[in-house]
């Protein structure tokens, strides 16, 4: 087997459920998303939850605006996307910055680790920089067992500081697509 030193994912992921559990714990009631394979399970869990308003977006920036509106109305939300979607959000994040809105972004990374699709690299390699440039605080989770704590800590920080935080979920977490043959 080629790519023998790069382990592919063999067991079912548990960290998406950990994120859902954190959402419940911190009182997330609005979830906006543009789908990503890495978020599929989490989206499914949120959609099955009648206490959550789950909204599928045409572009990620819609979710930035939507969750600002949700917060105006007293609800906590989370925005799920792939790293490619971060670029779509940049100007809309000025609403969050100027209004001092909390914003919890959970971003699955592409274009950073064993990526097979070269078109993903420009945005994947720029994701953290772009977020930091506009003023979003960036935190990362690389290992399955740390996802829960990282998301929980980010949620606590955003909702007690009214500042945006993005948790980047490293591509290593999502697994390796072996295109070497």
């Amino acid at each position: 087997m080629s790519g023998a030193h790069v382990p592919t994912e063999t067991t079912a992921r548990v960290w998406p459920r950990d994120i859902y559990d954190v959402f419940k714990q911190v009182g997330i009631e609005q979830v906006a998303y543009v789908p990503d394979a890495g978020h599929a399970r989490l989206i499914q869990d949120c959609e099955a939850d009648n206490a959550m308003n789950v909204v599928s977006l045409t572009t990620e920036e819609e979710g930035v605006a939507m969750l600002a509106g949700g917060w105006l109305g007293g609800k906590r939300g989370a925005l799920l996307m792939q790293s490619s979607g971060v670029g779509n959000c940049v100007n809309m994040l000025s609403v969050v910055m100027e209004g001092r809105f909390p914003l919890l972004m959970v971003v699955t990374m592409r274009g950073e680790w064993g990526e097979f699709n070269p078109w993903q690299l420009p945005m994947g390699q720029s994701t953290a920089k772009v977020l930091e440039d506009i003023g979003v605080y960036v935190q990362r989770a690389e290992r399955p067992e740390e996802v829960r704590d990282v998301v929980y800590a980010a949620a606590q920080m955003t909702f007690s500081s009214n500042r945006p935080i993005a948790v980047l979920l490293g591509q290593r977490l999502i697994g390796f697509k072996d295109w070497s043959k």
Partner: protein, 198 residues
């Protein structure tokens, strides 16, 4: 393209009539002229966007989902709405029952030198709204139509869209209230009381 009907109403007259009929609805205004129009009669139930072009409709959706017992009315310009075009589909798919989307349509980008928008070129927002599951969608040209539709906008039920055609008259910025954090905190405190600071 055939000759199209022009907007003749004055945007400030439209805004004044709407504010008179607002009741306890929560209003979100888009950046530019609609923000200034509604700033002429400031109200703590109005959230003014001064930036984030394309944000207004989606911000209204989040608010409507968070406050299902209150009517949420988004009032924005044609240029602002065209930038957030996907929101027609996203909102229509979610279909909140307490949501009105109102475009004050002068068919131009009035902030930047009166360049025509796509509505000037015949793009029909009422038709877009209809195709996107807005149960009620109309284009409003006259004072009589406006008077009839204001109660529908603010006290109706369901997902409603109105494209209100106005002339191209420009007005100066009327509002000095620009600090986003202040506008947000004031809106939340008025709506949520002590819970605003939980």
């Amino acid at each position: 393209m055939t000759e199209r009907r022009q907007g003749t109403m004055d945007r400030r007259d439209v805004a004044a009539a709407m504010m008179k009929g607002r009741g306890d609805a929560l209003i979100v205004t888009g950046l530019g002229s609609t923000c200034y129009d509604f700033g002429t009669q400031d109200h703590p139930n109005t959230f003014y966007l001064w930036g984030g072009m394309g944000a207004a409709a989606m911000l209204g959706l989040g608010l409507a989902l968070a406050q299902p017992t209150r009517r949420v009315v988004v009032v924005t310009g044609d240029g602002e709405m065209l930038m957030g075009f996907g929101a027609f589909a996203t909102i229509g798919a979610k279909a909140p029952k307490n949501f009105s989307l109102v475009v004050i349509d002068n068919e131009h980008y009035s902030e930047t030198g009166m360049q025509p928008t796509h509505t000037r070129r015949g793009i029909d927002l009422e038709g877009v709204a209809r195709a996107c599951n807005f149960g009620s969608a109309e284009t409003i040209y006259t004072e009589a139509e406006l008077a009839k539709t204001i109660p529908e906008i603010f006290a109706g039920t369901g997902l409603l869209f109105r494209d209100i055609k106005v002339n191209t008259k420009r007005y100066p910025m009327s509002s000095r209230l620009r600090d986003g954090s202040h506008i947000k905190n004031r809106f939340r405190e008025n709506l949520l009381g002590a819970k605003a600071f939980d």
